[in-house]
Each structure stands twice: as structure tokens, then as C-alpha cells.
Amino acid sequence: MNTQSNGTCEFSVVPLQRTGDGHAHVAEPETRSAVERYKEIIGSIGEAVATMRAHDETRVAELMARLAVSQDRMVDAIEREKVVKLGVALHWESAVEALWEERWLRMRPMPQPDERVPARDQNDYDAAMELAFQALEESLQKRSLLRRKKE
């Protein structure tokens, strides 16, 4: 009897001590014992499990590599978001201050992030915001100049 790695045993109808070297049994399909045949069929389960596990392992390795990469991207994204929020806060504060005098203006709160916008480089949006802020400042400019002249 040979114990295999999967814990199963290989059998011969003749006990081990009775099989001499000169009588090595050559297994012919039709002469194999039912035990051998049974265990061979059972063996395909082990193969299936091994195949599945191997495939999973490969896939897991791939994923782990991806995660390592996306980890860095994630850090960048978080950092970037922080910076954007900070820039927005500064601009918004400036805008509120600038509009303070315009008592007629019905003030509106800072807008929620609009994720529906097309995905573009963040710098583009940052620049657009900067331009919009400048445009706002410009729209307030005349009055200020007059007031300055008065002063």
C-alpha cells in the first residue's frame, strides 16, 4: 500500500508481503480493481480543486498587484481632493467677502460637488473656478472703483 499525498491508498488485491519484485503488477484498464477505479474517479475531485485553487491564486496575485498600484492613486486622489476643497474654501471665502457689500444680493450656500461633470484633469476645473472667481470680482469692480474715487 502506498499512501499518497491526498491520504488515499493504492491497493492491490494481493497483500503487500506477497508481491515479489518479479511479479510487479502492470495495471491494465480492464484488470484494475474497483478500488483503483473508484479512487481514480475520486481523484478528479482533487484535480478540480487544485485547478480552481491555482486559478484563484493567479488571479489573487494579479489583484494584489493592482491594489498596490491603486493604493498610490488613491493617495493622490485623496490629496488632490483635499487641495481642491482647500482652494474652493479660500475662493468661496473671498467671494463671500467681496459680495458682502452687495446687500441686495440674495446669498446662496456653497454648492455640493457635482459628480456629473465630465471627467477631466482637475487642473482644468481648478482653472475654470479661478476664472469664474475673477469674472465675479470683475463684475463687482466698477462700484468699487467709484467708491474708491469718492473716498
Partner: protein, 923 residues
């Protein structure tokens, strides 16, 4: 619109633009963050799923919610697809292949549901053996589809089974074992599978449903403290199979049986342990049994005993959660054991098996079954062998040959010894013709009657093989010696013949001398211990002869079968190991002790009636074969066979010699008497029958030399008259009418009828007979003495004629004879002494009866006793006879109807004689 309003609108628009730009900037950043986070979550989830495997993930309660999430659905789907693909080969074919394989190799009870077979006895004869036996069903936990398939284990001839359980799952182990045993027991013909159960924890109670099998001997429950006995029994069985079954180079019982009926039943030994290791010694013995058992039909089912064995073994591991795994199915398969068969049906099924087995036992095992299809077809050249009984419907044979030369049979009164002997003799006699086998049978006691083998009044048939039948031998131990002597002589004759052909054995002699008649001889001596009953000459002779025959008989085809009902008989034999060792065949009947090699082999003690242990290995346990012995003594069994064999005998075959110690031999029936005829100058006197195989007569030749007189000593007229009568009648047969003179002297009244009878018989034969009584004795003796003196001195006118003086109770006339003649000063005693002294030379012989030794001595000259050359003594002590014979006479003690006979001219030692019946009494 005013300029102010214009400005205000512009500000409002710019502010709105700004707000949109802020929302866009924030949105872009947050979406990027979110999307990245989601991507990473998916990846991480997939790592979790695939890291353990989708199969396990699906079962994991912690992952249940996540698996249901929409965002992971594609990940899960992909993993499942991969899973299905990996298992495609198994899923599409595996369960079906296993189902059909089990269906193919495990028909009927081996794998089918119990409804279709439980309760029916099997009919498979063992010519084909299911390779697998179902224990439950299995599923592959990790497979995408969990289709159950049958789980089965190899068993008979292939592998042992190891079951390992926890305290919580032990009941599953019990159920598994019971189911498995029921499958095996129900598959084969009852009797082909024997179960032994040993449970360290309980005396009884293991496998209770199987208990009905015990009464048929199919289940043996062993004592918890005696595992060694179970293992010894199994080891003995292995040894026995190796020595008696695995001959001719076969490696296993299966190979011996080939595709034919299984002759050797399987033995399944179920050992229930308690998870503790066995003692080292038992462990090793168990390993040996495991290693060699499979080839010999032994299967071990080991439950909860930690053991490693170097032989094929499958293991079923039962976990506390009631699931199981099995080495047949590996680690990926969870086995669900079949539930125990219904409680109510199991004992009923076992009872049916037990009944069928009993039925089968009875069916095979009548006396008729012992007999061969054709009578007298076997050759005894190499030995004789014949079935004597049945074990599980299989014949159990007894063989006598070069390797198993002699047999010893033990069985107390009522144990069936006679029956066994009849079975054995019948079975042998049916197979071997009288030219192949001769039987010499002897019984010392009435216990066994061999009278059947000799012609009887009711049944005139006799067993053609029987050459000698000795019955009621009782105290005539000499007859046993005579038989042994005959066998020793025959052995020597055969050895000489073999020598002439330059061979040593009977088998070779038969090959060299194909036309010679060299049958094997089987001598059966019942209650043989009587032979050694006393410390005397007979025992000494018997021991020597027995040793001689026991040692050398084997090669000359002479076999002894000694039987004893008495332990003492065997005990007496133990001391003579040189003899005892030759008796390699032992047969122990119920309650017989010491016949087998006790104390290790006490198999016979508990044997039921009608059974015997037949052992060809000098009584060593592994040689035991228990056989049921058929009734061989009832009407139409042995007697029927004997009549058939009798009918087939060769017509010229002589009847067996019958020695019946309880019967008086008839003088006229004795061959030696029939051969007597007139004309011999030296007539022969027949005194009685000596105890020998030929039934010869004790003879005294009455030559014309001094001392040729015959004395009979004893107190009983019956004994004396029988000897004197036979002597006179035998003498009469050797003389023509009127040639010889018989003078009968009747000196006591009680001898009168005998004397009259003798006179009549002699007269009838034409002889001259004078009858003289007390009043004529003196004159007769004086006259005879005078005639003899004349003859000696040469003054006689005619040559001497035969004259026989038959004197009844000589000593009764002493007083009369002592009286002296006033003229010559001579007494009648002087005349008697003259007749005794000088008579024989002149053909005058005295055949006299004296009623005591001293009285005989008184008739003779003081200290000179040689005128009595031959004598027969009856009820006198041996030491009284020392003056008349050799020292061996000392050992004689009187016994009824037996005399001690000595002829100083012929013998070195005395012989026992049986007085003849001389014919019809006078009416």
C-alpha cells in the same frame, strides 16, 4: 433696464458661474476619489473570495451580505464560472461514474437499499466477491453542484477497515459496523462469514441486533479482558490456512478457490476500543494478524483503537459534528453514513440467517453425504483420507499417511466416540477397496461395539475390509499385544519386501510391485489404555510393540487409531512421549481433555454434541477443525453401507477373525482342531485357545519323551473338564478307532457329568473308553505301572499302544493311594509316580486334574516336578506356580475362564488360554 440693475444682473450671473465652477471642481475630485475607492473595494473583495475559494466564500456567513451586493455581482459571477469550469470533468461524470461502478461491483446487499434484501439469507457461494461495500453517500463540499454519490469500502480479501470516532459520534461507528456486517452476512450463503466481536468496554451489548447469529455459531462475542484469545484464535487460523489450505504455491484462500465455491469461510473480527493504545504485545500481534490475515480470509474492523498496520486498510473518520470522511473518498468529500437499518428488522434478519445456516448444516452432513459417488475408486498408495464430518456444509477430512501416521481419539462416555469411529470407518471403507485398506479393530470394553463388522446372527453381512474384529476384550490384554505383534510382524514383512525392491516406503513398494497386494492397514484399538493398565509383562510388551509400530509403521502403511474415553488413559500415554509424538492426528470429542495440546487448546471442552475437533497438527490449536459428525450408527446408515460393500466383496474373501472375549471358543470350530488327523506318531493335544490374532489353539505335542504329561490345576471342575475334554477329544481325532485306549478316572462326584460326556464323545468317535472311579483307581495305576515297568525292563510281550489316562481330581485319591501294599510295601502313589515318570516313553500319557498346586506337588516325588511337562493353571496365584515354570508366572493372577498355560518343552514364558467349548452337553 437701469445701469444699477444691469450691474446687479452681471454680479448675479458671475456668482452663479462661480458656484457652478466650484461644484464642478469639487465634483471632479470627489468622483475620482469615489471611483477609485470602488475599484479597490471590488479588487479586495475578489481577493477575499478567491483567497479562500468561492466554494468556501459561499458558505461563509460573514461574506453573505457582500456577496449579495450589486457591485460585486460580476466578481462573484466570474469566480463561480471559474469554479464550474474547474469542476467540469467531475461534475459531468464523477457522481454517475461512481454510482455505476458501485452498482457494477457491489450487487444486492453489497450496496442496494435494505428494503430489497434485509431479512433474506444470501445465496452467493463466494465464487465472486463484491469488491466494494456501501457505507453511505458522499458529496464534494467544494464542488459547484453537490450531487451525492455512493461511498463504499473494500473489505473481504482486500482491506481491513479502521473506524475512528469521537465520544459524540461513537454511535455512528456502531451503526456503520452493524450495517456493514449485515450487508456482508446477508450477501453470502449463511456460514460463509463468521463474525468475532471484542469490545474493551462491554461483555455483551456490542452489536445487539446481531445476537441471533450466536446460536448458529456465526457470531462469537469475546471476553473484554481476553483480546489475546481473539488474536490467538485468528493467528491459529492463519497458521492452519497456511499449512492446510495454501498448499501448491497458492498465495491466498481466494487464489485457492479461484472462481469456484469458497471453501474457507471469511472471518471478520470487530474490535471495539476506547481510543487508548493497545499493549505493545497485543499491538504487534494485531499487526501480524492484519498483515497475514487478508490472504487467509480474515478481515479486521478496528474501531477506536490507535493502530498502524502495514497492510491495506481503509479508514473512516467520524467527527463530533456527525459528518465523516473516508480514505476511499479523500478530504474533499463529506460522507454521510447510511442510517442504521431499522431496529426491528435487524434481529429478525439475523435470526433468518441463523436458521438458514442451521438448515444448511443439517442438509449437508448425513452419513450418506460422507460417501463418494462411486465406491472403492481411491488408491491408498500415498495414504488414506476421507471426510468424517462437516463444518459449515464443507467436508472435514481425516487422513492417515506418511505425514500423519497415527491418530489418537479422545472422548468420554456418551461423547459420540462410537459414532465417530463408524463415520470414519464407513467413509474410508466406501472409498478404498479391501485390496487398498484392511481394518483391524479391537475394543477392550463394551463401550464401543465393533461386533457390527463381523458376521452376526441377525445380520450375516460383514465388513469386507475387516480382517480382525476383537470385541469385549476386557481383561484379555494379551489380545492387544497379539494384535500389535501381528502388526509388527506384518511391518517387518513389508520392510523386507521393500528391501528386496530396494525401496523404503510402501508407496514406493507399490510402484515397484504393481501386482502385489499391499493394502494400508488401519488398526483401531478402543480403550487402549487397558493395554497399559498394570505393571506387568503385558504392559511391557505392549509398550515395546506400540513404540515399534508407531515409529516404523508409517512408512509401511500401518496406521494406528487409538481411542480412549478416560483421561487416565491419555495420561498414561503422556509419559511415553516417543510413542505419543507419532500420533499427529488428534480427534477430540466433546468434553475430551488432554487429547489436544492443552492448556492452549481446549477447543473440545465446549464442543456441542455430535461434533469433534479434528486436528492433524499434533493437537496444536491452529490445527483445529471443528466438524459436525453425522449420525452413523442409526439404522440404514453404516449397516446399509456394510451390506452394500459385503455384496461387492470378492467371493473368495475370508470372513474376519472374530475374537469375542465374552464367548467361549468352540473346539470344533478351531482351524487347528480341524487340521488334526490320524497318523501322526507324535499326537498333539489342544488345551484351549491362546490369545492371538489367528485364534490358534494351545498345543502340547505328546512325544515319547519323559515329562509329556499334562496337568490342569484349579479348583473348578468346569475349567478342568473343558481342558481335559478338549485334550482327550483332540487326541481321539488323531487315532483310528480302537487304536488308542482312553481311561477316564472320575474321582469326585462333580466331575461325573464331564467324564460321562467325554466318554460318550470318545465312544462316538469309535475309541475304547474305560471309566474308572475311586474303587478302581489303585488297581488301574498299579496295573499300568506294572505294564510300564515291564516295557522298560524289556519283559513286555507287545509294543506299547497309545494309552491316555484322563484323571479328574487326582488329589481326591491321595489318601487312598498313600496306603501301602502290605506285601510289596509299595503305595498307589508310587504307581502314579511311575506312570508319570515312565509313561510317556511308552505312549502312556497322563492328562490330570489337581485341585491345587500343593496337591499336585504331593503327587510327585518331593522336589522333582519335571514329570509334568505342560500345565494349565486356573484359580491359583502366580507365586504358587513358581516351581513349575519361569519367573513370569509370578505375574499371574486368576481371572474367570482364563488359564495360564506353560509347556516347559516349548515355551520361554507362559501364555493365557481360554478353555474350549467341547460340544453338546449330555442331556
Amino acid at each position: 433696464m437701469s445701469r444699477r440693475d444691469e450691474r446687479r444682473k452681471k454680479v448675479e450671473d458671475s456668482f452663479e458661474e462661480f458656484r457652478l465652477a466650484v461644484a464642478a471642481a469639487l465634483g471632479n475630485a470627489s468622483r475620482e476619489h469615489r471611483e477609485l475607492a470602488e475599484e479597490r473595494a471590488r479588487d479586495m473583495f475578489e481577493v477575499m473570495v478567491r483567497g479562500g475559494g468561492i466554494d468556501r466564500a459561499l458558505d461563509d456567513p460573514l461574506l453573505k451580505k457582500a456577496l449579495a451586493k450589486e457591485e460585486f455581482s460580476s466578481t462573484v459571477a466570474q469566480a463561480m464560472l471559474d469554479h464550474v469550469n474547474a469542476f467540469r470533468t467531475w461534475s459531468e461524470r464523477g457522481p454517475d461514474q461512481l454510482s455505476s461502478l458501485v452498482r457494477e461491483v457491489s450487487p444486492a446487499a453489497a450496496s442496494w437499499p435494505h428494503e430489497s434484501w434485509l431479512g433474506d439469507a444470501g445465496n452467493a457461494d463466494g465464487s465472486s466477491v463484491p469488491e466494494l461495500w456501501r457505507i453511505g453517500s458522499g458529496v464534494v463540499r467544494s464542488a459547484p453542484e453537490q450531487r451525492p454519490f455512493p461511498v463504499a469500502v473494500p473489505l473481504l480479501d482486500q482491506a481491513h477497515l479502521h473506524v475512528s470516532s469521537t465520544p459524540d459520534s461513537r454511535h455512528l461507528a456502531d451503526g456503520l459496523v452493524e450495517n456493514l456486517l449485515l450487508r456482508v452476512l446477508s450477501y453470502f450463503q449463511p456460514g460463509l462469514v463468521h463474525v468475532h466481536v471484542w469490545d474493551v468496554n462491554q461483555l455483551t451489548g456490542s452489536l445487539p441486533g446481531l445476537y441471533p447469529l450466536t446460536r448458529a455459531g456465526l457470531l462469537t462475542v469475546h471476553d473484554p479482558s481476553r483480546l489475546h484469545e481473539v488474536l490467538d484464535e485468528l493467528s491459529d487460523h492463519i497458521r492452519r490456512v497456511h499449512t492446510s489450505v495454501l498448499v501448491d504455491g497458492h498465495l491466498s484462500v481466494r487464489a485457492v478457490s479461484g472462481t469456484g465455491r469458497r471453501t474457507e469461510p471469511w472471518r471478520i473480527a470487530v474490535l471495539f476500543g476506547n481510543r487508548n493504545a493497545l499493549k505493545e504485545e497485543q499491538q504487534q500481534q494485531l499487526q501480524r494478524v492484519a498483515r497475514n490475515g487478508l490472504a487467509c480470509g480474515i478481515v479486521l474492523v478496528i474501531v477506536d483503537i490507535p493502530v498502524t498496520v502495514n497492510s491495506p486498510i481503509e479508514t473512516v473518520t467520524l467527527k463530533a459534528d456527525q459528518t465523516a470522511t473516508c480514505t476511499m473518498t479523500g478530504k474533499h468529500v463529506t460522507v454521510a453514513l447510511d442510517p442504521p437499518f431499522p431496529r426491528t428488522l435487524v434481529p429478525r434478519a439475523c435470526a433468518t440467517i441463523a436458521e438458514k445456516r442451521e438448515e444448511r448444516r443439517k442438509r449437508f452432513g448425513t452419513f450418506g453425504d460422507l460417501l463418494p459417488e462411486h465406491l472403492w475408486m481411491e488408491s491408498s498408495s500415498a495414504g488414506v483420507v476421507a471426510p468424517v464430518g462437516y463444518q459449515d456444509g464443507e467436508p472435514v477430512s481425516l487422513g492417515l499417511g506418511d505425514t500423519s501416521p497415527h491418530a489418537l481419539i479422545g472422548g468420554p462416555s456418551g461423547s459420540g466416540k462410537t459414532n465417530f469411529l463408524y463415520a470414519m470407518i464407513g467413509s474410508l471403507a466406501a472409498r478404498y477397496s479391501p485390496d487398498e485398506l484392511e481394518l483391524y479393530v479391537l475394543d477392550f470394553k463394551e463401550g464401543v461395539s465393533f461386533a457390527q463388522f463381523a458376521p452376526g446372527r441377525k445380520d450375516p453381512s460383514w465388513l469386507p475390509h475387516a480382517r480382525l474384529v476383537g470385541v469385549n476384550v476386557n481383561t484379555d490384554r494379551e489380545f492387544g499385544v497379539a494384535l500389535l505383534k501381528f502388526l509388527a510382524d506384518e511391518m517387518r514383512r513389508r520392510a523386507d519386501a521393500a528391501k528386496q525392491h530396494e525401496v523404503t516406503k510402501l508407496e514406493q513398494l507399490r510402484a515397484e510391485d504393481p501386482h502385489g497386494r499391499w493394502p494400508r492397514i488401519v488398526a483401531v484399538i478402543d480403550e487402549f489404555q487397558y493395554l497399559f493398565g498394570e505393571r506387568d509383562q503385558v504392559t511391557q510388551q505392549a509398550t515395546q510393540l506400540l513404540e515399534d509400530v508407531a515409529r516404523r509403521g508409517r512408512s509401511q502403511g500401518i496406521h494406528l487409531v487409538l481411542c480412549s474415553q478416560d483421561v487416565a488413559g491419555i495420561e498414561g500415554f503422556w509419559g511415553k512421549s516417543a510413542i505419543f509424538e507419532q500420533f499427529t492426528v488428534r480427534v477430540a470429542l466433546p468434553k475430551a481433555r488432554r487429547v489436544l495440546a492443552e492448556p492452549n487448546n481446549d477447543a473440545a471442552v465446549e464442543l456441542p454434541r455430535w461434533h469433534a475437533v479434528v486436528n492433524h497438527e499434533s493437537g496444536v490449536r491452529h490445527g483445529n477443525e471443528v466438524a459436525r459428525i453425522p449420525d452413523s450408527t442409526s439404522k440404514d446408515t453404516f449397516d446399509f453401507l456394510q451390506r452394500e460393500l459385503f455384496r461387492r466383496r470378492r467371493p473368495e474373501l475370508a470372513e474376519p477373525i472374530l475374537f469375542d472375549g465374552s464367548k467361549v471358543p468352540a473346539l470344533h470350530g478351531v482351524q487347528d482342531f480341524r487340521l488334526l488327523h490320524p497318523g501322526d506318531v507324535t499326537p498333539t493335544v489342544l488345551l484351549g485357545q491362546v490369545i492371538d490374532v489367528a485364534g490358534s489353539a494351545a498345543k502340547v505335542r505328546l512325544a515319547r519323551t519323559p515329562g509329556r504329561n499334562v496337568a490342569v490345576v484349579g479348583s473348578l471342575v468346569q475349567d478342568a473338564a473343558a481342558v481335559l475334554g478338549a485334550a482327550a477329544i483332540s487326541l481321539g481325532r488323531q487315532h483310528h478307532p480302537a487304536e488308542a485306549t482312553f481311561t477316564l478316572c472320575c474321582l469326585v462326584d462333580e466331575a461325573e457329568p464331564a467324564a460321562q460326556k467325554l466318554a460318550k464323545q470318545l465312544n462316538t468317535a469309535g475309541h475304547t473308553v474305560d471309566v474308572v472311579r475311586m474303587d478302581g483307581i489303585r488297581e488301574l495305576l498299579d496295573r499300568t505301572a506294572k505294564r510300564l515297568t515291564e516295557t522298560i525292563t524289556g519283559t513286555a510281550s507287545a509294543p506299547p499302544q497309545p494309552h491316555y489316562l484322563v484323571l479328574y481330581a487326582v488329589d481326591a485319591a491321595h489318601t487312598l493311594l498313600e496306603q501301602k501294599d502290605p506285601a510289596t510295601r509299595a503305595s498307589g502313589l508310587d504307581s502314579l509316580r511311575t506312570v508319570l515318570k515312565h509313561g510317556p516313553e511308552s505312549r502312556t500319557h497322563v492328562l490330570g486334574w489337581w485341585r491345587g498346586v500343593q496337591r499336585l506337588k504331593s503327587s510327585l516325588p518331593p522336589g522333582v516336578y519335571d514329570d509334568i511337562g505342560a500345565w494349565v493353571a486356573f484359580d491359583v496365584q502366580g507365586k504358587e506356580l513358581i516351581s513349575f515354570g519361569p519367573e513370569q508366572v509370578m505375574a499371574w493372577s486368576p481371572r474367570p475362564r482364563r488359564g495360564l498355560y506353560f509347556d516347559r518343552f516349548e515355551h520361554s514364558r507362559p501364555q493365557v488360554v481360554i478353555p474350549f467349548d467341547t460340544g453338546e452337553d449330555i442331556s
